[in-house]
C-alpha cells in the first residue's frame, strides 16, 4: 500500500516549512521596531508560537483522548499573557461527556470554562459554561471531581453546548512561589477503546493549521499593538469587546497601552485602586510577550508586590533605571513596547492617568 495523498509526505513537510516561513511578514511591518533586541525577540517569539501550535494542533487535538497543555507558560508568551495566572487547555467536544478530577492545592482562584469557537457566525470565541472554586464542592483532602456535559448533573457540573470545542482552566496566584497549583486530569467517558491510527490527510491538515496559527496569531497581536500606537503612553480601556471576543476573561477589565520612551524618560502611571479580587500591571515587548518575570522582578507588579500611597493610590514608574521612588517597572532594555493593566472582579474601573517626564524629575514630581 502506498500513501493516498495528492502530495508525497516529504512534500507535506516541505509545504509546512514553506508556510511557516510566511510568518516572517510580521517582522517586516512598517510600524514594527527595527532595533536588534526587538527583532531578535520576534524571531524567538515565532519559534515559541511554532512549538505551541504543534503541541496543541498535532498532539493535543483529539477530543476522545483529551490532553491538558499550556497555550502559554513562563517561556511561551502570547498576547499579553498573565504572569500571575497559569492556564491549561484541552480540546474537547460538545457531544461527549468528560470527567475532570484533581486536587485543590492552595491557589487562591481556580476556575473552569468551556468555550466554543464561533468566529464564523458571531465572530467570537464564546463561553459555553463556567465553574469556579467558590461554587464547587471539595472533599476533605482537597480532591474534587467535575462532570462536563450538556445535560445538568448533580455535584460539580460544568456546562457544554453542541459546539463547545475546548476547556480552559485558569489559576490565579497572589504569589506563585508560595502557593501550590491545583493538579488536574481529564478523561472522556464515552470514548472509543483506542485512538484512531494517524492518517496522512490528518497530519497534513494539522500542519497546515499549525503554520496558519503561527502566522495569524503573530499578525493579530501586531494589529493590536498598532491600534495602541495611536495613543502612545496611555493606558486606555479601548473597546473591551475586542478582548472578550478572543476569549478574554469576563471578570477582567483590560487597559492596554503602547509605550515609547527615550533613555532619559520615565512613564508615570497613577490611579485609585478599586475594590477588586486582584490587579496587576505587566510590561511587554512590541509583540505582546510579557517581560521575563522568572528572572526580573521588575517585569511586572501586582496587589501583592506593590506599595500604595498612604491615601491608597497606586503610582507606577516605568523607566530604564530605578528612580528610587518605589513600584519601579524596568523597560528591560527595550525602547518601546506594550503594557497591560488588569482590574479583576473590580467594583469600579478607574482609568489611570499617565504622563512621560524626565527621569531626573521623577523624585521631585512624586515627593
Amino acid at each position: 500500500m502506498t500513501v493516498e495523498l495528492d502530495a508525497a509526505p516529504d512534500a507535506v513537510w516541505a509545504e509546512f516549512c514553506a508556510e511557516l516561513a510566511q510568518a516572517r511578514a510580521v517582522l517586516m511591518r512598517p510600524a514594527a521596531p527595527r532595533d536588534t533586541l526587538s527583532q531578535a525577540e520576534a524571531v524567538r517569539y515565532l519559534s515559541r508560537l511554532t512549538r505551541v501550535a504543534l503541541e496543541s494542533i498535532v498532539d493535543s487535538s483529539d477530543p476522545d483522548f483529551p490532553r491538558l497543555f499550556q497555550m502559554s507558560n513562563d517561556i511561551i508568551k502570547i498576547g499579553g499573557d498573565n504572569p500571575d495566572t497559569s492556564y491549561w487547555n484541552a480540546t474537547i467536544a460538545g457531544d461527549r461527556t468528560y470527567r475532570i478530577h484533581g486536587t485543590r492545592g492552595s491557589v487562591p482562584y481556580l476556575s473552569f470554562g468551556t468555550k466554543a469557537n464561533r468566529f464564523a457566525t458571531d465572530g467570537a470565541m464564546v463561553s459555553t459554561g463556567e465553574l469556579d472554586d467558590a461554587r464547587m464542592r471539595f472533599e476533605r483532602d482537597g480532591s474534587f471531581e467535575i462532570i462536563v456535559s450538556r445535560d445538568r448533573r448533580e455535584g460539580n457540573w460544568l456546562a457544554s453546548t453542541h459546539d463547545t470545542s475546548f476547556l480552559l482552566v485558569r489559576q490565579t496566584f497572589y504569589d506563585k512561589a508560595r502557593e501550590t497549583p491545583a493538579s488536574i486530569s481529564i478523561e472522556c467517558l464515552d470514548r472509543p477503546d483506542r485512538p484512531a491510527p494517524l492518517q496522512p490527510v490528518a497530519i497534513r491538515d494539522q500542519l497546515r493549521r499549525a503554520a496558519a496559527f503561527v502566522r495569524v496569531t503573530a499578525q493579530s497581536f501586531a494589529d493590536w499593538t498598532e491600534m495602541f500606537m495611536a495613543h502612545p503612553n496611555a493606558l486606555l480601556p479601548w473597546d473591551q469587546d475586542i478582548f472578550q471576543k478572543v476569549g478574554g476573561d469576563p471578570n477582567i477589565h483590560y487597559f492596554h497601552a503602547y509605550w515609547k520612551l527615550a533613555p532619559d524618560e520615565a512613564w508615570i502611571i497613577e490611579t485609585q485602586v478599586p475594590g477588586c479580587r486582584f490587579w496587576n500591571f505587566v510590561l511587554q515587548n512590541w509583540w505582546m510577550e510579557s517581560g521575563d518575570y522568572r528572572h526580573i522582578p521588575e517585569a511586572w507588579t501586582n496587589g501583592t508586590k506593590a506599595r500604595l500611597t498612604p491615601d491608597g493610590r497606586l503610582v507606577i514608574v516605568v523607566a530604564a533605571r530605578d528612580p528610587g521612588v518605589g513600584n519601579w517597572i524596568s523597560t528591560m532594555s527595550h525602547l518601546s513596547g506594550t503594557a497591560l493593566l488588569r482590574w479583576i472582579a473590580a467594583d469600579t474601573r478607574p482609568t489611570p492617568t499617565c504622563r512621560v517626564v524626565k527621569c531626573r524629575d521623577v523624585a521631585d514630581l512624586l515627593r
Binding site: 502506498t2 512534500a11 513537510w13 531578535a40 524571531v43 515565532l46 491510527p197 532594555s333
Partner: protein
Amino acid sequence: MMDDAMTVALTSDPSAQVRLAPVWRGFCEQLAQASDILDRARAPATPLDQAEGVRYLSRLTRTALNMLVDSADPDFPRLFQMCDDKIKIGADNPDNLYQQVVVRGDRDYRIRGRRGTVPYVSIGSKANRYASDGTMASTGEIAFSDVALDHDGTFEIIASRDPQPGKNWLPLADDTTLLIIRQTFENKAAQTPAQMQVERIGGPKTPTLLTSACIEAQLSAAAAWVRGTATTFAEWSEWFRSEPNRIYQGKDQSTWYRAGGDPKIWYGHLYYDLQPGEALVLEVMPPSCRMWNFQLDNWWMESLDHVHQKIWVNSAKANYEPDGRVVLVCADSDPGFGNWIDLAGHRQGTALWRWIEADAHPVPTCRVVKL
C-alpha cells in the same frame, strides 16, 4: 518577498536598525531538509508509517526549539523534557521520566527537591564529546540510594567540579554540558515523581539580552538537530532490519553506551516485519535484576502510544508462566496466552528489551506465528 534582497546584520549594537525576517526564512528552509528521512529507500511507505514520520519531525522540531532556544542558558538553568508522553526519540522508555538541564562544568549548581515515591532516581552529568571521541561521556553520577534526605523527604545536591564534603555531591568535569535526571517507575499512575529545581550558585542577576547572532545560531542548531537525530535513528532502524524478527546482535553493547545509553542496562533491539495475521512471540527466563521491560516502537524508533494502548510491559506488570518464564506476544489483538503487546496497527518497526542491573543477560528467543 521583499526581504530577499536584504542582508542580516549580525550586531549587538542596540541602536542598529535590522530586519531579521531572513533568519526565520533560513530556519524554515533548513528545517525542510529533514524530510529526506521520509524518502529513505528502506523506510516503509505505508500511510501510517509515513504519517507518523511527518508527525515525528514536528515533535523533534518542538523539542529542539525548547532545548536549544529556550532552555540553553547555563547561567539560568531550566529543567526540560526532551521526551514526554508525545515527544518520542530513540526508543524512549515508557517507564521513565527523563529531564534535562543545560549546565557548564566551570559553574556550580544547587539542586533542590522532594524525593517522591518513584522507586529509582538518579542524576548524571554528561559531556558531549562527539567531536573528539564520538561519545556522550558520563562525567558524574549520583543515585538516590546515596542521597541524604531531610525528615520531610526533601534534599539538596550540589553539582560542581570540586568535592563537597558533608553534602550530597554530583561531580562535574570541565567539559560537562548537561545534567540528566532519570526516574524509573514500576507504575507511573500509582507512584509520585521526584520534584526538582536547579539554580546556579553565584551567577549573574539577570540573563543577557538576546542578540540576532544568538537567535540565528540557536535556530540553525535546532534545525540541524532535527535532521541529525532523525537520521541517526533511521540508521539504527536499518541496522536492526538486517536481522528481522529477532534480537539484533550485529553491534556490541558499547555502541548503545557511546550514544548516551545507561551502562547499567543491557539493550536488546529488534526489528519486526510481520504479515497481517502474524504475531511475534518472545520467550525468556528473566535473570535476577532490578527491573526489565519490553516496548514496541515504530520504524522511526518512537515508542508507540503508551498512554492509551498496551504497547509495553515491565517486570512489575507482567504475567509469568508457572516455571517463571515470561512469554510476550506482539499482535493486533489479545491472543489469549502470554502477555499481549499491541502492535497498534504497525507491521514493521522496532522494539527494545531492557535488562536493568541484571546478573545475566539472556537473549529472548523470537518466533513468528500465525494467529
